[in-house]
Symmetry: C2
Subunit: 203 residues, 2 copies
Amino acid sequence: MAVLEFWYEFASTYSYPAAMRVEALAATRGVTVAWRPFLLGPLFAEQGWRDSPFNLYPTKGRYMWRDLQRLCDALGLPLKRPDPFPQNSLLAARVALALEGDDRAAFSRAVFHAEFAEGRPIAEPATLAAALAAIGVEPEAALMRAQEAANKDRLKAECARAKALGLPGAPCLVTEDGEVFWGNDRLEQGLDWANGAERGGCR
Amino acid sequence: MAVLEFWYEFASTYSYPAAMRVEALAATRGVTVAWRPFLLGPLFAEQGWRDSPFNLYPTKGRYMWRDLQRLCDALGLPLKRPDPFPQNSLLAARVALALEGDDRAAFSRAVFHAEFAEGRPIAEPATLAAALAAIGVEPEAALMRAQEAANKDRLKAECARAKALGLPGAPCLVTEDGEVFWGNDRLEQGLDWANGAERGGCR
């Protein structure tokens, strides 16, 4: 079964609908999703951006918020704009990485829901503890594991890998043959590629 | 019949597949397309960009070229990377604006083809003259009209309108009720909105 990497960032607006959609879309194509949380901050800093491009470039930001609202409306997803935006996503990413398999995916969806549907502060351990409890993971132990040196180093390695892959933002799908598909609006295309449909037909 | 504005920039990579796709998609939805050429340069300059963001931010640029190749492959569109990129699109935009209706659309597609399928220099009057001749418009008169002061002012007004609409890039669709859809990958969504499908179902 083809494995597709789903690279996402908890502070990223378009990662929210993508995280909510990707598993159902993958199931219809017989593709397995590997959830890879990472941080955009280090990549953006290298471009000279010390804030979200959506804040640095207000025209893009205004467009994005309206676009995201339309997308969420069409998908039936609640949307509450995080304040401040972007949220600090470091701890959430560490906790997600300290979990494996279905737990990581379920926790990640719970965090996106808390952040973008409920407007809760995801930098707060209490918010993440509630998300862990909701998916049946003991919060205290998971938060401890998240802050261990080995896990912090693992997240740094994931960010280095994201850079090596040339990810231009989040979310991204990365196929086994190294193709990158950027954006919530490219999930279907990336999944079709992973499933071999496009490789057979269009190259 | 709903009218949808198609805002495009001749130097813009994603405007190429969009220009080639938009009329067929609109026809299936009973939507009329109004072709609105404009220039991104003045909008980008206000963001502090003196070059294409795809050149200023190489990670984005590398991704875009690969993404565009995949898109063009899937659509059966030839792709030859313009050199230099971006091309100077001022004269092409003026000529397009000096034409009306079907002539403007046909000329615009011919220019995109010359630029992105054949790699020809669209700043050269000879390239534009060939595009005009190919669609049955007398080149010399059209190039003269393009350079008249009134037409130059009209293009400036179009750029001011693009800014007032908050267009974050090109291509964009703008609906009669003021919704903006940015990107070749949003043509279907914008056309559905213009056709009332999404307004009825999702707001």
